[in-house]
Every structure is written in C-alpha cells, then in structure tokens.
C-alpha cells in the first residue's frame, strides 16, 4: 500500500466538508450503559463503534458515515449492536436516528445533563431483557369463528355468493368489511389472554395492537423479563401457542435491548409489575 506524504492521518472515508479530526464529527448515539459494562464489551464492538465516558456512564456512539445513507443497514446494525450489548448487561437504547454534533457533546450534553436519571434507569434495568410475543391469526380459522359467532355474516355470504358473477362486488365488499370488523373485535380479548398467560413471568408489559398494516397481525405483547426467567416465560407462552395452534401463530422475538421501556424507565419512578396498554 503506497502512502503519500501528508495523508497519514486522514480518515479513509472522511467525506468532503468533514473535519479530519474524528472528535469533531457528528455521531449517532446508540445507547447508554455503565462504564463497567462498556469496558467489558470493548473487544466485541462492531467496527466504527466506540464509547464516550462521563464519570461512571458510557455512551455508545458511531460516527455518521458520509452519504449516501442506507437506513435499512444502519437500522439493523443499530439493533444488532444494542441487542448484543444487552445480552451482557443493562443498556438504555437511544431512539434510532439520534445524532449529536460531536462525541464530546454526548458526554457533556447528554450523559452529564441527566446523569442521575440514566444511572437510576440502568439500575432498574439490571437483569432484565425485552421479549416480544407477536401474534398472528390463521385467517381461515378465525373467519370460521366469526361465521359461527355472527350467523348474519354467514347469511350475508349466502346471499352474496348466489348472485351471478360480476354483480356481487358491493355485497362482497360489505361482507369483507363486516368480517374485518368482527376479526378486529377479537384482537383485544386475545391480546389480553396473551398478557394473562405471561403476566406472572414478566416485570413490565406493553400491549401494542397492530396498526393495521397486515390484517392477520393481531399485535405484539412486549415484555420486560428477568434473564433468569426467560425459560419459564417461554414455556408459558408455548402452552398458549399449543392451545391456539389451530387459530393463531405465536412468535417470540428476542431477548433484545429494552427499546420499548427505555423512555419510561428514564421518566418514572420504578414500581411493581405494570401492564400498559398502548392503545
């Protein structure tokens, strides 16, 4: 590799307009953790990631690369880095896309500014990880259920399908709309049943009904679970998955960083088990 004189310290990917000094580059802030945990994770960091310290806290940062930006790759990289760190100890994920002017600003304007809050939130997160139970209906089974529960839908279907082809559009649309509403009406009690199943195995629970992107998606039950209780949590969920095997699919995602709980841990005082409904 030939090295021209005078270019030794220039970063290989330093874009135009960026200073050569990495301490002056804008950076993503990925998460906050203890200095102790950061020290243990130093060897395992993805290239580019580094820590900035203030007293006993560390901020996990990554320099913002020059454009073009690849949000998907960056999002997956962010999640992967945080999830691996969270497997070793408490980490507060910072909202994806948060950029600070310089690494120094992370220390002086974030870590120092709310030092006690972040320290308390990390303490509250000790030993806990996030698990997500994602529920989907098996559409055929759930439609059979609503046809039995609401005979008028079955009757409407009889009427619609007796009409000659080409004449049933509006009727089909109405049928579909009513069936969709009937299925949507089952989401809430079903998600409540998921919560009941895992409640005693989780420290905190959020219910997140699906926003409607996918008609089969029922929603997520997002849980903060003690690492030592993951297997009993999963066993309880598996019992429900078995019971519902004909009508629904239950997925478990994680363990992962506590994305869903970071904000509330930093804002509220820590209490007992809570169930929060996001609706």
């Amino acid at each position: 590799m030939s090295t021209r004189p005078g270019t030794l310290s220039a970063p290989p990917d330093g874009g135009p307009g960026l200073s050569d000094d990495p301490a002056q580059h804008p950076c993503y802030l990925y998460g906050i953790l203890s200095r102790e945990l950061a020290a243990a994770a130093l060897d395992d960091l993805p290239p580019g990631c580094q820590f900035v310290y203030h007293r006993e806290l560390a901020g996990l940062i990554r320099p913002v690369p020059p454009p073009p930006h690849h949000p998907t790759a960056q999002l997956l990289g962010y999640a992967d880095t945080l999830d691996r760190l969270a497997a070793t100890g408490p980490v507060l994920p910072i909202r994806f896309g948060t950029i600070l002017a310089t690494p120094t600003a992370v220390a002086t304007e974030v870590l120092a500014l709310r030092y006690d809050t972040y320290t308390a939130a990390l303490a509250a997160l000790t030993g806990l990880v996030q698990l997500v139970l994602r529920m989907r209906y098996r559409p055929d089974a759930v439609v059979r259920e609503v046809l039995v529960e609401q005979p008028r839908l079955a009757r409407l279907h009889q009427r619609v399908r007796r009409q000659p082809p080409g004449r049933d559009g509006a009727g089909r649309l109405q049928l579909g709309e009513l069936v969709a509403a009937a299925v949507a009406g089952k989401r809430s009690p079903d998600l409540a049943a998921v919560v009941e199943t895992v409640r005693e195995h989780a420290a905190r629970i959020h219910v997140v009904p699906d926003p409607g992107t996918d008609p089969e998606r029922v929603g997520d039950v997002v849980c903060l679970v003690a690492r030592s209780r993951i297997s009993e949590f999963e066993a309880a969920a598996a019992t429900l998955a078995h019971r519902w095997r004909e009508r629904a699919r239950l997925q478990v995602l994680g363990p992962m960083a506590a994305y869903h709980f970071a904000d509330e841990l930093a804002t509220d005082t820590i209490g007992g088990p809570t169930v929060l409904d996001d609706r």
Binding site: T72, F96, L100, V110, V143
Partner: protein, 131 residues
C-alpha cells in the same frame, strides 16, 4: 437458553431478525434525549410513516371476503352466466367499486415502491409481504 419441550415447538422463533420483524419494535422506540441538544433525527419519521401505511381497506375487505369463500366448504353455485354477459350486466356501482379497488391497489403499490427505495440496499428489504 432455549429449552425445548414438547409444547415449545408451537412457539415460533424466527432465527434471524430481518427488517420485517425488527422495524415495528425499534422505530420510534428508545429513549428520546432532550431535543435542544439533539442535532437531528435523520428524517426517519418519513420512512416510518411510509413503512406503516395501512393496507387500503378495500383491498383488505376483498381478501376477507375471499377467505369466507374458502372456509365455507360448499362451492359457490355456478350460474352459467358467461364472462361476456357478466361484463354487460356490470352495474355502475360495481364499476365504481372495482375502480376504487384498483386505485387503492395502485396507491399501495406506489407506497411499497417508495418504501423499498428508501430502504434500498438493505438485507431484509421486501420481507414484509409474506401474507
């Protein structure tokens, strides 16, 4: 860590988390640091909105209606009305519904393209539409 018992096979565990699994869990989540020290949030709000465009209701309703057809075991009676005639008797309202459905499908298609563009180059790009 994964204890395999007999019932556990019904609890699904996606082996690799692609974008489809991850996006709802992490976008808009995480701790928000005080706005006045934050330089930017990268304009991902836009991506979020696009990625979560609600599947147009007309499209969804027709899919549910198809499901009803499928689960009602008896096949729909064949009327013998040929396709040609079907076109001729198609009423105004039917045409409107169909037009609306097509328009909505186009819109969804556009939105999906937009999302794909934005997410371009990523690993798990079009995993969302598995259903």
């Amino acid at each position: 860590m994964t204890v395999v018992t007999s019932t556990n096979q019904y609890l699904e565990r996606p082996r690799a988390s692609g974008l489809a699994e991850v996006v709802d869990i992490i976008l808009d989540k995480g701790l928000v640091v005080d706005a006045f020290v934050r330089v930017s949030l990268l304009g991902l709000e836009l991506l979020t909105i696009d990625a979560r465009i609600v599947v147009a209701s007309v499209d969804t309703y027709l899919r549910w209606a198809e499901t009803v057809d499928r689960v009602v075991l008896a096949p729909a009676p064949t009327t013998g009305v040929p396709e040609l005639l079907g076109g001729a008797v198609e009423g105004g309202s039917q045409r409107k519904v169909r037009g609306a459905a097509e328009g909505v499908q186009e819109k969804v298609g556009e939105a999906k393209d937009k999302v794909k563009e934005k997410l371009g180059g990523g690993k798990g790009k079009s995993e969302r539409g598995e259903g």
